[in-house]
């Protein structure tokens, strides 16, 4: 937290200095300095759309994969994904950098997903993930096919573990959140998160260790 606040303060001072010296690009800075997520969100709050774009591109894929594997349904993932960013956009005026942006983002995502499931009240149907979002296989189609098969096995294995355990696992893997942060996002205590991660990992390991059956 102090790091984030200090960074934001540095940004503000730098902006003031640049404005006083008459620099035209108030937000221009060297490539070696990567703006923190909170700083980008604050800039977007002030009307800088490019800051939002940077922030979005930084987190969009991991958030998408989190929702995709959590819901096990592409349409649901896309709906919730748009919902999440819509809420982030609407909340920009109230945004305060009191926590890491990823904590904020995934808390919103987690809650949006729960609301979506309650609203729609339907069982999530595991659907095969379409290959249209895959990166270009390049010159190794066999390798890509093998990878696609492995991905399907992983998705199937994830589908067999309970929702809460899958949620904890994905927050750890995709969002890179710590146990304490996962506890904050999911609203449970630390020990519960640890236990969910242990069970999830154990079941995935067992499922992935089974011999693969190529069809």
């Amino acid at each position: 937290m102090p790091t984030t606040v200090a960074t934001v303060a540095r940004e503000v001072l730098r902006l003031q200095a640049s404005l006083s010296t008459g620099e035209t690009a108030a937000y221009a800075r060297p490539m070696s300095v990567i703006p923190e997520d909170s700083a980008l969100m604050l800039r977007y709050k002030d009307g800088d759309v490019t800051a939002f774009e940077t922030l979005y591109r930084r987190h969009k894929d991991s958030l998408y994969r989190y929702l995709l594997r959590l819901s096990q349904n592409r349409d649901t993932a896309e709906d919730v994904f748009q919902d999440v960013w819509g809420k982030i956009i609407k909340a920009r005026h109230r945004y305060r950098p009191t926590a890491k942006f990823t904590t904020f983002l995934y808390r919103v995502a987690h809650n949006c997903f729960i609301d979506y499931v309650r609203r729609n009240n339907r069982h999530r149907v595991a659907s095969a993930m379409d290959p249209d979002c895959r990166p270009d296989p390049g010159d190794e189609p066999d390798l890509e096919a093998e990878k696609s098969f492995a991905r399907q096995r992983l998705d199937a294995a994830l589908g067999t573990i309970p929702d809460e355990q899958r949620d904890a696992f994905l927050l750890h893997e995709e969002a890179g959140l710590s146990i304490n942060t996962i506890a904050q996002v999911t609203g449970v205590n630390r020990e519960t998160v640890r236990s969910r991660l242990r069970y999830a990992t154990k079941k995935l390991k067992t499922a992935l260790a089974e011999p693969a059956v190529h069809t």
Binding site: D61, W85, K147, H172, L197, R198, T201, L204
Partner: protein, 240 residues
């Protein structure tokens, strides 16, 4: 610093499973989804800039309109106008202290006057006999006391005479509480009421009119007049 410490603590995830996951999970968002989100973000910023100029004038205008409307309502309510029917009534005219032998001079509000009042307060027509009505004048307590005293006096006279006294002329008018206008039921468009206003101004004459209608075979007209009669004079003891 706390977050860095969290990253290094032992995490209960098998590193092999984690590595396997990381090697496979490489999906990207669809391009149309990206476009939709970025468009919404840009639109929100544009809306902010428009709202800024709009807010510059609409807020003071809204405040002025609210203040003006509030003042208008307050001034309108403070004006007696037609919304305080008790404004022109004095206790003396509303409380006739009468004896059974009283003449028409000291009667209270004439029934015909009541009938001419706005005939759109239907609930009064469905009041059970003797039930207290809505008080629009604020004088119902006073009236009730007066009516009770009058009733007692009549009862005493009956007991003394030993016979059922016919209510004295115009005595029933005393029992007619000032009532809100009732929904009268016209009989025919060309002859809305079978009994004239003049007849209805006197309880005896009105009663006689109803009897005449019934004798002449106009039962429906008689029934309607009787309903209206009962509304105006609920305490009038109808002869057998």
């Amino acid at each position: 610093m706390n977050q860095d410490h969290d990253k290094h603590e032992a995490i209960d995830v098998d590193p092999q499973v984690s590595a396997h996951y990381q090697s496979l999970a490489d999906e990207e968002t669809p391009a149309d989804l990206d476009d939709a989100v970025l468009r919404e973000a840009a639109r929100a910023v544009r809306a902010d800039s428009r709202k800024g100029s709009f807010q510059a004038w609409y807020r003071p205008a809204a405040v002025m309109a609210t203040v003006g409307l509030t003042l208008a309502i307050i001034l309108d309510l403070s004006d007696p106008g037609i919304f305080s029917p008790a404004a022109d009534m004095s206790l003396e005219t509303a409380l006739p202290v009468q004896t059974p032998a009283d003449t028409t001079a000291d009667r209270g509000p004439e029934p015909a006057q009541l009938l001419r009042m706005q005939p759109d307060l239907a609930p009064a027509a469905t009041q059970p006999e003797g039930a207290p009505l809505e008080d629009h004048t604020g004088l119902s307590d006073v009236f009730t006391a007066e009516v009770e005293r009058e009733k007692q006096r009549v009862q005493e006279m009956e007991a003394a005479a030993g016979t059922a006294l016919k209510p004295a002329p115009n005595a029933a008018a005393k029992f007619a509480r000032p009532r809100p206008a009732i929904a009268l039921k016209p009989l025919l468009p060309e002859a809305p009421f079978a009994c004239s206003d003049e007849q209805k101004s006197d309880v005896e004459e009105w009663w006689q009119c109803i009897a005449t209608l019934r004798q002449s075979g106009q039962a429906a007209a008689a029934d309607l007049e009787l309903d209206n009669f009962r509304e105006i004079f609920p305490d009038f003891e109808l002869p057998e």
